[in-house]
Amino acid sequence: MSVQSGPQWKARSEMKVLNTDVPRVDGPAKVSGRAKYAHDIRLPGMLHARLLLCPHPAADVELLNVEPAKRIAGVVTAAELADRPDRTIFLGQPLAVVAAETPEAAEDGLRAIEVRYREGGWAVTPEQAAAEDAPRISRRQPNALTERETGNQGRTERALEGADATIDETYVVPVQHHCCLETHGMVVDFDGERARVWPSTQAVTGSRGEVAQALGIPADRVEIVCDYMGGGFGSKFSIGPEGLAACQLATELRRPIHLMLTRTDEFLMGGNRSGGRQRMRAGASLDGKLVALDAEVWRHGGIGRGSNPGQPYIYKAETDSMRIGSVRTNTDANRAMRAPGHPQASFAIESAMDELAYAIGMDPLDFRMRNLEDPVYHRQLNRVADEIGWYDHPNRETPGIPTGGTNVGIGFGVSTWGGGGRRVCVVTVRIDPDGSVTSSAGSQDLGTGVRTYVGSIVAEELGLAVSQVTGRVGHSEYGPANASGGSTTTASLAPAVKDAAHNARVAFSERLAEWLECGPGDVVFANGEVRSGTNERMKLTWSEACSILGSDPIVATGEWQSHLQTSGIHGAQAVKVEVDTETGGLRLVKMVCIQDCGLPLNRMALRSQINGGMIEAIGYGLFEERIIDPWLGVALNANFDDYKLPGSTEMPELVAIIDDDDERQQVIGMAEATIIPGQSAIANAVANACGVRIRSLPLTADKVLMGIQEKA
């Protein structure tokens, strides 16, 4: 490859590092406890802080006296939050903060705070909020508000009348929590002039500005460090009220503050995936076309607006119309959560598609393909159908009926996402005379393997082993980077890494050309050596080549290059489930996901992401649901005992397939897509097994059993 041309990804067949299984470089630190997360930062004189949360969905704060807390042994200070309201509007709204020498003393301090609430009128369920006499949650608008209308409803009504089969069903999704194992929060070390801050964040670059503002100092005096972070899933873009509280204490005390939410705090104020309700009136023709869809979509995002991309989502209807709006309640605002809105939309449309297919007596896989325009989906659905055993399955056009024993069913779903990048990142690659190579990016690694490819892309470029390049991320000094959201990290960052690596190679080639007695364009980097492309006897080991640099290292930067990335991905999933028709209990047998992603950077990390998407969807499908008592306004499962996450014994056989028929030679982010259709496929598999259609998540045994009894 000529050095004069701009950066280009190599052909896959020529790749030594990329598109292979690369164990992540920070694995040893993570398995040995050496990886330091925000939770783990320990500084001399550091104080532990805890927040006081309002235990009511809405209340007037009649009295808040922090003085008694200050008299508790070990407590250093207690304070009302700078912006604390007189009237709270959501369950778990933070009001005050305590800092103490130990975590235990901070908890003692919280208990000592004198506080008196007068509960106001509130609504915690969408039904309560939509009632005529419901208290207003926002002064500016009604609790339930239709925000957007699309299509021509009159036309859809007429098309529905002409359809051969119709359904009119409502699908309900609960509020799900991110459940990052590392809760939100940060450690702040502020001396009045400069600050060093360790947030658990998806946005190193963005945190810098937020912290600077909170501390009232210029951003160039704030250093953000996030070497490791214990999960974000969309909930950790902002430093949040907990970050502001930590900055408030640090400003007052000039001592390092460690403020991480407790698990219960995390449930109440750490964000969630919005719930909602979708009424789907859909019609099909006997030849398998979705001729009409009218959707009424309500999002439930607490004091937030919720998210849902709308219907008919991925499918194509001949005629469609929709009204979409949100219902507010006195609960924490929803936040982005891995593929915001998409799993919700998927559950309604994939269920409705299945119901229509059976209504016209058609194989639901066939019916899907007739209403999916993109041929990639056809290829992918065939692949997962093969893998799950659909073509040998007895219930292909008609669901089974409860046998009294175990029924087996199979279900499907598809997904889509963008995954493209944008120009933000500046990456620096440095080659030192001693042979060491570093690649630095101010991005963050949420567990996706970013640190590994920040190094491995450079290793590929320079013909080195992954271990010879140190990938560095998680530090504001390493240059600007975008927040890790919307699967935009890879397509924004990897092209900049590639560009920096390319520029470093070009610069190094120019320095080495004379030694190798060839032109700069003929310098070849391969197998840990640098050689002349015109005379194979002219070669240098890597350390010899680097020693030529004398005291003058190569430092090259790289920026985003549009042509190295693209957007637009597809996925398909299939699930096989066993239904115990005596108890309603479900057992997942097998789950398959195929996902395209353009050029794979690290196949092993990709399979991990695909597995992770399927498993989070298993949680959403089978277990997870925030429950707030509608009469008392009390959170009933704000802990890991009562909010059930999928565990090892619930794992089916999981098959993660990277779609290698996607030959696009550009990188694309893919993590979100893998979480979208799993729960829909599970619901469809249950219906396929025994004819019981569960239209609300999660698919608990009681719902299945009720369905079986209704059929009997």
Binding site: K30, S32, L446, L645, T649
Partner: protein, 207 residues
């Protein structure tokens, strides 16, 4: 598990106050924050030195009777042992798993005082100098970690299982980490790693 007669749960309910020897426990302050009448400040005292044996070395840790082993490790040891993670604080996620006399235990449910006289092993104690243990090495090779926050807990649970029986079957491995939660969804790779580590331990006979 611990043969202790006073668990942390019981202690927090007040029953453990007896064992605390004249110390005013948190139960005295645990009344609802909405009741503001009986809020005379209470003095919490009674720190004590607890001698713990952690990863083969004795260490005196200054803490309170109510201090959990987890908090002692993370906040009172010198240097702090933060590899063991605080996640749920309820014994329901396994992130704080340590080995107490070779049995896996949730260190968030165990009082530091109850770990006296026992051998505590944490994730920091598994690697031999720079050489990872077979379980740790297999986790890295099989990508059995993503964000990594649950990883130390899984490593400890699997280590306990395989040290007893390196030939553990897949269902036994799943059962051994049934108390551990991973939100990123790493389970299949954890199973692969555990099976591979068991194979290596059977061959090598090493711990």
């Amino acid at each position: 598990m611990s043969d202790s007669r006073h668990s942390r749960r019981a202690f927090l309910k007040g029953a453990g106050g007896v064992a605390a020897g004249g110390i005013v426990g948190p139960s005295a302050l645990a009344s609802s924050a909405t009741e503001s009448t009986t809020r005379a400040p209470k003095r919490l005292a009674g720190e004590l030195d607890v001698e713990l044996s952690i990863n083969g070395a004795k260490q005196k840790v200054r803490c309170q009777p109510r201090t959990t082993l987890l908090n002692a490790l993370r906040n009172h040891c010198d240097p702090p042992l933060t590899g063991t993670k605080l996640v749920c604080d309820h014994g329901s996620c396994g992130a704080c798993t340590v080995l107490v006399d070779d049995e896996p235990a949730c260190s968030c449910l165990l009082l530091a005082v109850d770990a006296r006289g026992k051998e505590v092993r944490t994730v920091e104690g598994l690697a031999n100098e720079d050489e990872l243990s077979p379980v740790q090495a297999a986790f890295v090779e099989h990508d059995a970690l993503m964000c990594g926050f649950c990883t130390p807990g899984f490593v400890m649970s699997i280590t306990a299982c395989l040290e007893k029986n390196p030939g553990a079957s897949l269902p036994e491995i799943k059962s051994a980490c049934a108390g551990n939660t991973c939100r990123c969804g790493t389970y299949p790779h954890i199973f692969d790693a555990a099976v591979a580590a068991g194979g290596r331990m059977r061959k090598g006979g090493s711990k």
